[in-house]
């Protein structure tokens, strides 16, 4: 693939904390971690999805003024950012591993509509739905 969406980012309250969460608990890899003064461009990647990076950004200067950054931190902490979906082969197995690693689940795996899903949040408050990849009917 040479065209398409390359990076989509999240706002997080603390980039070190977010990095630990996405790498140590979710199994993502660091793609880019580069600093320029106070600014830190940090992206991670799912090990099976090399064409896509998930950005982990802290709202603040020099990109945003202090008041806007504060508003964004509040919005993230209220869980009001758009929903995120993580696709896995086996939702219950992934739940077991992630739960043991200390991920905050907001919904245990439930099987409905022919698939299994669960929900969790990152430390900042970003909400993820974890769904099982739909099996192709044989």
């Amino acid at each position: 693939m040479s065209q398409g969406v390359g990076v989509v980012g999240l706002y997080v309250r603390d980039q070190d904390e977010a990095l630990k969460f996405y790498v140590d608990k979710l199994g993502f890899r660091v793609h880019t971690d580069s600093r320029n003064g106070d600014y830190r461009w940090l992206t991670v990647q799912h090990p099976e999805q090399p064409s896509f990076q998930l950005g982990l950004y802290a709202p603040g200067p020099p990109v945003l003024d202090a008041a806007t950054a504060q508003t964004l931190r509040e919005i993230v902490a209220k869980g009001a950012m758009p929903p995120l979906v993580l696709v896995v082969d086996d939702c219950r197995a992934a739940y077991k591993t992630m739960h043991a690693a200390g991920v905050e689940f907001t919904q245990e795996p439930v099987t409905r509509y022919g698939s299994t899903d669960a929900s969790f949040r990152d430390p900042s408050g970003n909400g993820w739905k974890m769904v099982e990849a739909r099996k192709v009917p044989s």
Partner: protein
Amino acid sequence: MKEQTSQDPELLRRLLRAKDRMDVASHEDWPVERLARVSRVSKAHFARSFKDAFGVPPHRYLLTRRIERAKTLLRDTELSITDIAFQTGWKSLGTFGRIFRDITAESPGQLRVREKAASHELDRVPACFLSAAHRPDLKFAVLEKRRREAKVKNKATK
């Protein structure tokens, strides 16, 4: 309208935890003490800051979630209305029906008939987001709504 004041993100994150707990178990009882414990704040502080953060008091939020779940069950299952009332956390069928009508302006039975008649092509949307889309929009308390309606009625008869 009261101006929205800024809230501590760390507190908001803990309030979100209480909201998440209601979301996943709206059929359970959620007295303020229990919610405050989840958020690790005092009772008084919890009720006020929850409303500031999410726009509705915690109990009213819980009601919307229960009605939402009831609507889903009416639409997607063949469960009896009594079963749905108890499964979604009401202690009596009467209370369920009354609050359901207050919020949705129709009875559970009417909603079921209407929803079953309409065809949906929503199987590509994850269930949780569908459920959010069907969430009733409670602008004021059910009691307040009844009070307002009574006022209008009284005026009309005077």
